[in-house]
């Protein structure tokens, strides 16, 4: 009987905890990722998720030839380096931040509009036996009209 009374409490706590993680992720994205877009204008879209060491995320977006873009991809400090690659529709790698000391931003413009894929991966601390680190990773885009 006591167990049955405890279960709803646990369920509520789990729900509240997951909501709190999401709120923290949004606060993190606003505080750490958004400022990196300056002097570009943030497009207003929000993409963030809690990722675990070794986990990957993919994002698909169309980029237009009339614009200049900055992508900002930032992970919480408790995570190892965040790798990201930008690929065209034929899976050719156009940019990898691994070659730029894991830079968190990349500025680019396009001769012709393209749909691109961005692959984000939380690298690994390579400590076998340890619990994998997890934390928020935010992806944001800024743009301005091409000069």
């Amino acid at each position: 009987m006591r167990l049955i009374k405890t279960i709803p409490v646990i369920a509520i706590l789990v729900f509240a905890f997951s909501g709190s993680i999401d709120a923290q992720c949004k606060a993190f994205a606003k505080k750490e990722c958004l400022p990196e877009l300056q002097p570009y204008t943030h497009d207003g879209n929000y993409h963030a998720a809690v990722l675990v060491e070794g986990e990957e995320a993919e994002l698909y977006k169309t980029f237009y030839s009339d614009m200049e873009y900055r992508v900002s991809i930032v992970g919480e400090s408790k995570l190892p380096a965040i790798e990201f690659k930008v690929l065209d529709i034929n899976k050719n790698v156009l940019y990898s931040n691994k070659d730029k000391d894991f830079a968190s931003t990349w500025d680019f413009k396009l001769q012709a509009s393209q749909q691109l894929k961005i692959v984000v991966k939380v690298s690994s601390f390579n400590k076998p036996g340890d619990t994998p680190a997890s934390g928020c990773v935010a992806i944001m885009f800024g743009f301005k009209m091409k000069k």
């Binding site: 929000y46 529709i89 994998p132």
Partner: protein, 305 residues
């Protein structure tokens, strides 16, 4: 079923619920396409291998602000008649119509702000706020945002910042609170409104020279992203209705040909940025454009009427 088994069943159900709450309510994400057999790994290395196979997938449609910027960058003129009048805001009482028109009004607000139509900014911001409030989106658009807009009515940078912040507040709230279908509906409303304004601004006598035609063709690149976004909430009746409408639009976009050559990244030292060079050829006949305009207008009018 005896008492012990009933308790075990309840414990199991709550465990499943807890796991699904933790893993299933993330914004803009979807589980791996193929379900895998559930197996408890024996060591941490196996857990890491499992994580390596997991993928979260985001689909990003152009935001209302970006859609409006594309119209302006093509050199189009502002036309207030194309906006959804704020007087209609009282008509939207269902969650679906409020979500669609949150996107529509945000796009109109973005369009007006980029063309410095200062007299329209506050009414459209208030209309967007009414939609967000109706959807229960807490703190999406606050009085301070409207005050900031009023105080900086001639400062386009601040205005764009306010618009982008309020839009982010809305879509992050919906995504973070387990309402991906509503978040997708807002994005669809904004995207269709941008496409509607674009198609209405093209006069057939300028079809071959109007730069906006190129930007409309470019939207073909986003139609699959849109379909994918909606398919993640398939089964929700309001989303299923949108899927039917968007499928008709996709059928017309499928008539447009886009051929893309290899993309070559080149670093431009003067701007400190990479230029993605490529040759693209596109082909859209005037007939296809007219068909596209007609379908877009039908869909948009179903959103606002």
């Amino acid at each position: 079923m005896d008492k012990k088994n009933r308790i075990s069943s309840v414990v199991f159900l709550v465990f499943i619920l807890a796991i699904s709450l933790i893993t299933g309510c993330k914004s803009g994400t979807k589980p791996p396409k193929e379900e895998q057999e559930v197996k408890l790994p024996e060591n941490i290395t196996e857990i890491k291998q499992d994580i390596d196979q997991a993928k979260k997938i985001f689909s990003a449609l152009p935001s209302p602000l970006e859609s409006a910027m594309l119209i302006k960058s093509a050199g189009a003129n502002f036309d207030e008649k194309l906006l959804n009048p704020v007087s209609k805001q009282n008509n939207y009482v269902t969650s679906k119509s409020m979500a669609l028109n949150l996107g529509v009004y945000t796009c109109d607000l973005s369009f007006a702000s980029l063309y410095e139509q200062t007299n329209l900014l506050i009414p459209y911001m208030e209309a967007a706020k009414r939609m967000a409030d109706g959807l229960g989106i807490l703190q999406a658009i606050e009085k301070e945002d409207i005050d900031r807009l009023e105080e900086n009515i001639n400062n386009s940078e601040v205005i764009m910042d306010v618009v982008s912040q309020t839009f982010m507040n809305s879509n992050s709230y919906l995504s973070d609170n387990g309402q991906p279908a509503t978040a997708a509906t807002v994005l669809v409303g904004g995207w269709i409104e941008g496409l509607y304004i674009s198609t209405q601004l093209v006069e057939m006598k300028d079809f071959n020279t109007n730069k906006l035609v190129g930007r409309i063709i470019d939207q073909k690149l986003s139609i699959d992203i849109l379909v994918d976004l909606l398919n993640r909430s398939k089964g929700v009746p309001s989303i299923d209705e949108l899927i039917v409408q968007v499928s008709k639009l996709k059928a017309v976009f499928d008539k447009i040909k886009i051929t893309t050559g290899a993309v070559r990244p080149e670093y431009d030292q003067t701007s400190n940025s990479t230029v993605l060079k490529s040759e693209v050829t596109t082909d859209m006949t005037p007939e296809t454009f007219l068909e596209l305009s007609k379908i877009v207008a039908e869909i948009r009018n179903s959103f606002v009427n």
